[in-house]
């Protein structure tokens, strides 16, 4: 199975490492045409303003198109901001693939960045989560399931084929969330095969 990682900027290497440990063929995606032949896509952490500016050749537009057709996508931190329908204090959003609103840097500046154990629904009740100047989910629409909360704030959610997290599972050695996403991709492949 091939899963892409948007490789414009950010923690690309870390996601590819985990994918390879899971026996998945991870591919760097910089251009729209590199999206074909993939079973899923990860949008990594990084700086969302830079990633969106630099996504040449309409990669993000193509990602939006795929998302609406049920293609599995996982966004961590900046990746979550790119996928959200709404960004607080900002008029436009980017891909708009999941009906949530997010607030940038909601966990504060870097001195407030932290690690904690999270209970992630359907994945683990002890997931080591690394939050770095993290965005939080401030509103969830119908059809969105909140998978994890930290001190009352939603920090992980799923709507159908789209999975988002405020934190960075790729900075730990714990592969359970990636495994969960690979499972989403497998399910989608099966569905496609039947159709």
């Amino acid at each position: 199975m091939r899963i892409g990682v948007l490789a414009v900027q950010g923690a690309v290497r870390e996601h590819l490492n985990i994918l390879s440990q899971l026996g998945i063929d991870g591919r760097r995606v910089k251009k729209a045409e590199q999206l074909s032949g993939l079973s899923g896509l990860i949008l990594p952490g990084g700086e969302s303003t830079a990633i969106s500016l630099l996504s040449r050749g309409c990669v993000l537009a193509k990602v939006g198109e795929l998302a609406s057709k049920g293609f599995p996508i996982f966004g961590t931190c900046a990746g979550m901001i790119l996928l959200a329908n709404e960004i607080e204090g900002q008029e436009d959003a980017y891909v708009r693939a999941i009906d949530i609103a997010v607030a940038r840097n909601a966990s504060g500046r870097q001195v407030d960045s932290f690690e904690t154990m999270l209970c992630v629904k359907g994945v683990a009740d002890d997931f080591p989560a690394v939050f770095i100047r993290a965005p939080y989910i401030t509103r969830v629409g119908n059809g969105v399931t909140v998978l994890a909360k930290h001190e009352g704030a939603a920090v992980m959610a799923r709507q159908g084929n789209v999975l988002v997290a405020s934190f960075h599972p790729e900075l730990t050695r714990d592969m359970r969330i990636h495994r969960y996403f690979v499972e989403m991709a497998r399910e989608h492949e099966k569905k496609e095969a039947i159709l």
Binding site: E14, G45, G46, T116
Partner: protein, 292 residues
């Protein structure tokens, strides 16, 4: 339980900046230009290195009022420079809640012998290095990110290239050495043994390594990326050029698409005047910043 200021959180922020460009800014307006151009972070300082070089005098941490304006102006991380060994400037920057502190040779050193004990801070540090020994000593002091020193404020990339090549060569040596030779290698390089072990475990430097010091053009940035650095610092190169907005954007594009000469060529067109450079031979030895 919530743990702040862990090493994973500190080095993690640097990991998120990989493949990006960090730009020196002295005002909030410049910070906004940098953010709009696609910078992943800005570096706040009193004067850019080229001005420090030209004007002389003691170069210090920037005015806290200025730093606050910059913090308020952009949503990307804000870094700020402290003098080497000046742990109180670092405490002040931490109190201002900057996102990263650069203990920098660009400013006038405050301690002739010692660097800051960076483990005592919750805010992460980036430090300059010319070779692997220097990088490893800074990491052992708690730095969570490294950059080559190059020769700041010159617009001349030659020293950044020298430092990046040397560091890569020394990393290759560490990775290929038989275990029994590692200790004497540590001694020769002046590198703490434990950090060399960490390099062997990871197969690379255990923290992110950016290129800095003399990068002035999109091609300079792309070359440093091809030499294997994780990202780019641009000091005087942007705001000492004829068209800062355009050049900032071009350097960012070239850093992202560093393996595509076609893109580097197209973004390099019509950028206006680059900063006036200085040949390294013309700099008197006591004015070299990299030896600090």
């Amino acid at each position: 339980m919530v743990e702040k200021g862990t090493y994973r959180v500190k080095s993690g922020l640097a990991e998120m900046l990989k493949g990006g460009v960090i730009m020196d800014v002295t005002t909030a307006d410049q910070a906004i230009i940098a953010e709009r151009a696609g910078a992943v972070a800005v570096m706040s300082l009193e004067r850019v290195p080229a001005d420090i070089r030209a004007q002389g005098g003691v170069a210090r941490m920037a005015d806290p009022g200025r730093i606050k304006e910059i913090l308020a102006a952009v949503s990307i991380p804000v870094m700020a420079k402290a003098r080497i060994g000046h742990f109180v400037e670092a405490q002040v920057l931490e109190a201002l809640e900057v996102d990263y502190i650069d203990e920098s040779e660009v400013l006038t050193p405050a301690d002739p012998q010692h660097h800051i004990d960076k483990w005592t801070f919750a805010v992460p540090f980036v430090c300059g290095a010319r070779n692997l020994g220097e990088a490893c000593r800074r990491i052992a002091e708690g730095a969570a990110m490294i950059r080559t020193k190059g020769e700041p404020g010159t617009g001349n990339v030659v020293e950044a290239v020298r430092h990046m090549r040397l560091m890569n060569k020394q990393i290759r040596l560490v990775l290929s050495a038989p275990p029994g030779e590692l200790m004497s290698m540590a001694k020769e390089m002046g590198a703490p043994y434990q950090v060399l072990l960490a390099i062997r475990e990871k197969g690379r430097l255990p923290v992110v390594n950016f290129a800095a010091g003399g990068i002035a053009t999109p091609s300079d940035a792309a070359m440093m990326m091809q030499l294997g650095c994780d990202g780019i610092f641009v000091g005087s190169g942007v705001f000492k050029s004829g068209d800062p907005e355009k050049r900032a954007r071009a350097i960012v594009e070239a850093t992202t698409h560093y393996k595509e000469p076609g893109i580097v060529a197209s973004v390099s067109e019509g950028l206006g005047e680059a900063m006036v450079g200085i040949s390294i031979d013309e700099i008197p030895p006591h004015e070299m910043m990299q030896v600090r």
